[in-house]
Amino acid sequence: MEFSPVLYIAIPLFAAFLIPLLGKVSKTLVKLTPGIVFLYLSYGSILLFPKAMEKPIVQVVAGFKPPFGISLYYGATAAFLITMVTIVGFVIWLYSYKFIIREPIEKYYMLFMMLITGSTGILLTGDMFNMFVFLEITSIAAYSLTAFLRDKDGAEAAFKYLLIGSFSSTFYLLSVMIIYSYTGTLNFADIAGKIDLIPPMAKGFVLVLVLVGMGIEAEMFPLNGWAPDAYSQAPSPVGAVFGGIVVKAGLYAMIRIVFLFFKTPEVMQFLIFMGILTLLIAEMAAMRQHQIKRMLAFSSIGQMGLVIIALGIGTMGSTSAALFQMFNHALIKSLLFFAAGYLVFHSGSKQIEDLEGLGYDKPVTSFFFAVGALAIIGLPPFSGFWSKLLILVSVAKAGDIAILLLILTGSVIEAIYYLRAVVKLYTRKEVPDNVRRTPISGLVAMGILAAIILYVGLYPGVIEKWLAPAANNLLNAADYIKAGLF
């Protein structure tokens, strides 16, 4: 059986259905299953990635040609992001292996696998309603994982997330409905060809609905109120899942829809504007946080703002820079969440204040946190440097100095609060002897991420050569339509 893109969705799902049965046999088996799944998916990525870079693979489900059946579209952009999801997912599993010790462990891994299913589904699907289904799978898994620790604040954060999330899905469903009622089809490529059948008034309404609906998942201002609470109350690996995978999938969905249906200069201007607002407000909010995970969450929102700005500029250079930034952010933010998870665990407090002196007591974990902080600020020789540089260059090329300055302002604020946390970490202070150690699996997970970040920073060419086809695939709607309807 040849490896087909549908397996990216089917295999994690199969694993989720299988885990409760495995749980009756042994707990170790349950814990190992996700790792095997990710290894298999990475193997698939190695096989499919080069093919997709040349020509999008369109996979039909149930044997009916699009637009009548649902089709999966595994193009260069999707391939790039799915490969990222598999890498991050594997590392998160490795980290969870010793981190999640609280029952019900099998439920944790089931929810985790379904979250992966939903995210890869959003990235892969070529059908508008199918995307809604995967969006819901992702969201419901995310709500449950947010409340996984079953404490007071976790339940509250999850309820808040659920309220906002159900508005998001309602709006998205309404947009699907309006589009269907005018075009009579649900396939993205088919809709893109018939988009002019929708009268301007309804079209504008659909745009608003999509931006609000998907903007919530992509943490666009002012729809990101759920994010800091959910990130900080969920277990640390789940925070990494949100920042590294879920948000990326939501952003991809939003951008894909906007670029396919509504790519006008005004909309792009609006995206840039929202991106700037998101960036600046989030960075300023991050500055004021006292809890380390809330700080990371706001920083994550800020980074999304940066990506949205770069996507809004809409040139080849800026789009590839945005994809590069998404890749970097997924890895770096996961590393930061991992390190922060154990720092919080060791110090027994979520406050940044209480991190003092841990740099000497827990040198390895703190070192990884510092690496992540320097990388996300965009210092060489880490990978974050190149993506930020590329974004700034592309903005400068587009000739907008005001945007350039605003991005720089945001970056400076970001640098200040990250450095503040790192300095705190390495301030000398007597720390009561702590016998708790960071487990090997956690250290290996962080080590892998740090190695990739450093490697890409030293040799950016390994990622850069895939960016052009990925950006081209995202920007070029005509090719998408041609490939999607064959």
């Binding site: 449950s144 309820f159 159900s166 899905s169 309602t170 009622s181």
Partner: protein, 113 residues
Amino acid sequence: MLYYIGAISLILIGMYAVLTKKNLLKIVVGLSIVDSGVNLLFISVGYVKDATAPIFSMPSLTADKMVDPVPQALVLTAIVIGLATTAVALGLVIRLYDHHKTLNINKIRQLKW
């Protein structure tokens, strides 16, 4: 046309409940009302005048005398999804009630909203 207006009013009523009610359960009920409104709206989009259900159970039925089957299929999915969301929401409400011994949203708020 009246069907559209009725369904839209349901959506708005549900949203009003979510925005203004203080009781967690009432908020969940509001969410369900929004869901029902959207589903009804979708079904009315698929309505065709003087047409029948899309099932070929008798030879006399022909394809041009049937309503659009796609919205019905999609709404089936949407209903199930709405139910799942409601179930998880109720689970969270049970948890919150356990921790705080109240359903009043003003007394529960610890995190900044």
